[in-house]
């Protein structure tokens, strides 16, 4: 194969349309495991959170954790899935040292939920958002248990031995399989981002990729643009971050395009992403694929989620990001971008709404939260849970500015003090002695004083060099030690110089 430049490769790839589907595994944040009472906390000493059930000891039996079912149903409903009244657990059989029973209890031909959807931004052929929305289908959502972890590194004898930690064995997972509806790495990235956001809103998972509570595999194939038929797909595993997902897809699209352009055929296989090298490697071909010999799990009766149980869970469904974005735009007059930023997390949206409710200046409130407040948290590492500034204080600050009590510049100083002390803005203003001077009589005196001190510049201004207005404003502000109301100063100077 001839070596092509990046630009040539990109040009080749542009002839093809990527077809992408994602399989996302989400660890549910239940206190205990799916089939036993062991805790699920991350980071405990190896094998300290185990029992006969999750160790797969002979004679131990699984008993389903109802809370895991509730969270899975909530997740399914949050993704618009139809929850099956009866679903079946199945055994997925394969040998691996971190799989203590030699099979994983999962669901196969009758999953918990099916036919859901998730909305992403519609994009043009260049991957740019068009302002509309696009629906990504969700094929199925099913419940299963996590396996343990094989530890191949970090021990003095890791050269010759691997270790197994079964703390993770039996942690509840949901697997969410999308339709092959995505057409670009950006779209795939947005899909997982929104999926994660929904899971967090529902409080069904921590979605912490570093700790493995959200994991992602991608199926990708190419077809000539305009073609209806799907090409041969490759499955990519080991995508440990959203960034890696996007990069792996970008690499894989170029790789497949190069094969197709040179007249070759893409091989159906599983590939591993190597983040350090930024490329994918073949892991096993279709022929080497496991035969998992799925069959119904005889140790567990069919999982029944009655209509009543489903409705009870649905009744506690929180407002999800998409609905919240639309409502914030309508209710507070926010721009789409601002609504997007403010709904990034449930906590941020709640904070905003607590501040904006009853405020006459919701947009200003939004700006303070997205600007100073966000910057403060970034700089200090604080979170909405730890910051001292109360939502009502942000609203009060916006009101003080709007009323002209303090200037925007003063407000930044006030804000810094509020952040440090937790004082309401009025108290911070008083403590800083920062009250804005808006008395026209007092300001006129300052204006007269400044003009008298700079007769030459006054003359130049009057001769038409109106750019000097800023100079005079600055002098008046200085004379007032920053407390003069700048808008009023501006007006009074213009009157005096007329």
């Amino acid at each position: 194969m001839a070596t092509l430049s990046a630009a040539e490769l990109a040009q080749q790839a542009a002839k093809y349309e990527p077809v992408i589907g994602l399989e996302v595994h989400v660890q549910l944040n239940t206190a205990t495991k799916i089939f036993c009472g062991c805790p699920t906390a991350f980071g405990a000493p190896p094998n300290s959170q185990t029992c006969p059930v999750c160790l797969g000891l002979p004679g131990a039996l699984p008993v389903l954790n109802r809370e895991a079912v509730r969270k899975a149903v909530l997740a399914a409903l949050g993704l618009g899935c139809t929850v099956n009244e009866v679903s079946i657990f199945a055994r997925k059989n394969y040998f691996y040292p971190d799989l203590p029973k030699g099979y994983q209890i999962s669901q196969y031909d009758r999953p918990l939920a099916e036919h859901g959807s998730l909305f992403v931004d519609a994009r043009d052929a260049h991957g740019r958002p068009t302002g509309g929305t696009k629906t990504i289908g969700i094929t199925r959502l099913h419940l299963e248990e996590d396996a343990g972890k094989s530890l191949h590194e970090g021990f003095p004898d890791s050269e010759t031995f691997s270790y197994v930690d079964l703390n993770r064995s039996g942690v509840p997972l949901i697997e969410i399989v999308s339709e092959p509806d995505m057409r670009s790495p950006e779209e795939a990235h947005e899909y997982v981002t929104r999926l994660k956001q929904i899971m967090l809103y529902l409080d069904v998972s921590d979605c912490n990729m570093e700790e493995g509570s959200l994991r992602c595999d991608a199926n990708v194939s190419l077809r000539l643009r305009g073609s209806e038929r799907f090409g041969t797909k490759a499955e990519i595993k080991n995508l440990n971050s959203f960034r890696f997902l996007q990069r792996a897809l970008e690499f894989e699209i170029l790789r497949q395009a190069e094969i197709l352009e040179s007249g070759g055929r893409v091989v159906q296989e599983t590939r591993l992403y190597n983040a350090a090298e930024g490329r994918t490697y073949s892991m096993r071909s279709k022929e080497e694929a496991h035969d998992y010999r799925y069959f119904p799990e005889p140790d567990l009766p069919p999982l029944v989620v009655s209509a009543a149980a489903r409705e009870e869970i649905a009744a506690k469904m929180p407002e999800l990001p998409r609905a919240k974005r639309e409502r914030l735009m309508a209710q507070y007059g926010l721009a789409a971008y601002d609504a997007e930023v403010l709904t990034a997390t449930q906590a941020l949206a709640d904070y905003f709404e607590a501040a904006a409710t009853g405020s006459a200046h919701p947009k200003a409130v939004a700006n303070w939260i997205m600007g100073e407040l966000a910057a403060h948290m970034n700089a200090t590492g604080e979170t909405l849970a730890t910051i001292k500034i109360q939502p009502a204080h942000v609203a009060q600050l916006a009101a003080l500015i709007a009323e002209g009590t303090i200037s925007g510049k003063m407000a930044k100083e006030v804000f810094a003090r509020m952040a440090a002390t937790g004082e309401p803005p009025a108290a911070a203003v008083a403590a800083l002695g920062l009250k804005q001077e808006s008395d026209p009589a007092a300001l006129r005196a300052l204006v007269a004083q400044v003009l008298a001190a700079h007769p030459q510049q006054a003359a130049q201004y009057r001769a038409g060099k109106t750019a000097l207005l800023g100079f005079f404003v600055g002098q008046v502000m200085k004379a007032s030690r920053g407390q003069a109301n700048p808008a009023l100063v501006n007006q009074l100077l213009q009157e005096a110089l007329a």
């Binding site: 006969p52 160790l55 797969g56 000891l57 002979p58 004679g59 131990a60 039996l61 699984p62 008993v63 389903l64 055994r91 059989n93 040998f95 040292p97 203590p100 029973k101 030699g102 099979y103 197994v164 035969d291 010999r293 799925y294 069959f295 005889p298 140790d299 567990l300 009766p301």
Partner: protein
Amino acid sequence: MTDLHTLTTATVRTQLAEGQISARGLVEEFLRAIPAVDGRVHSYLTMAPERARAQAARLDALAERGEPLPPLAGVPVAVKDVISTRGIRTTCGSRALERYTPLFDATAVERLEAAGAIILGKLNCDEFAMGSSNENSAFGPVRNPWDLERVPGGSSGGAAAAVAAGLAVAALGSDTGGSIRQPAAFCGVVGLLPTYGRVSRFGLVAFASSLDHIGPLARSAKDAAAVLAAIAGRDPLDATSADAPVPDYVRQLDEPIAGLRIGVPREAMAAGAGLDAAVAAQFQAALAQLEHAGCKIVEISLPHAPYAIATYYVIATAEASSNLARYDGVRYGLRVEADSLGEMYRRTREAGFGAEVKRRILLGTFVLSAGYYDAYYRKAQRVRNLVAGDYRAAFESVDAIATPTTPTPAFRLGEKIADPLQMYLNDIFTVSADLAGIPGISVPCGFASGLPVGLQLLGNYFEEARLLRLAHHYERLRGAFPDPPVSLAEAPRG
């Protein structure tokens, strides 16, 4: 004082309450007497003297304080070695678990001890309960106390032989395709298969989870009833255990049987079933006695019965192939070291499992594999439903169903070991109850060629009480069943 081999649950408890015996004394007598007899029978794999003595001491303390004694107080029992016992090795008759000691008790074991029973030890069986002759034990076969050259049946052969020879008053066995009832028939004792879900499987090492049952073996229906009463009932640790209330099985034994309708499946009596003439004669005689006692004998049909064996060997092996995957040498049990993981797996499982277990893992892996699942496993599940449907239909018109437990009496050691299909056919009358999940009981009904014959009675779901009642009445009609030639009866009490 009675002889050890004639003790019953009721006599032990009464004698203990009245201070005629001490539980500790009884345990010592059994521990002393067992080796001489069991040297020939080989029913025990592991004795549990410390645990037995500790439990006996607790019961003696209760008796001495004059406190009410639990229903099985002081009753020496033994447990098939596929049932987990905390701190006592549980081998499943396999090299793979030769040195495996469970961290927990099976629920049935826990309940048995809570009811006052004393566990003397663990009983030999076919490896992972796979077999009909006990010749598949990695630790050597059990011999039939009626004829040491013959098999005791399987897979609960140790349990049946021990109870028959008086080496325990009762035992816990397991039944997946007939593994309680068939050895009970071969050894001349009572064996009960409870309804699926009646007794918790927690702690029963799985062979085929949807077919596995724990149940009692005893020398009378009454003792079987007492043991069942102790172990039955919902267990939060087994999601397939049933919530149905547990009746007082012992009290209901004496209720009348006159008027009960007993169905005899035409398919069981057909030529193809391979029924031995002497067995058939004993079976007919038993029916005549029941009829004489007021039962109505009616012919019924179980049209799918001929497919039960094939169905069973698809489903049971499929589940076994998955259930036995965990014996991989990684965490516990046998490990044969090797340079690579795959090689370690291969060597461990090659050395750990016997021929029959390997055969079933291969069969089960095959029937579940891509391209064969529909033709075998899925089809077998359908036939299983049809088999269960046969029983549901039959129980519309009869109260119980009777068959011989096995087509022949106990065969010779080695006679069928080379021909697995012939061996499997031994389960022809027993497997379909496991497939349907209904209860069944085998009760001794005479002899053929000097060997015990079993009468099998099957009932509708959760109708163990009716089966026990029928068996109990039949025992009276039949009269006392003799002791086998090899038993504690030979050993003078010390």
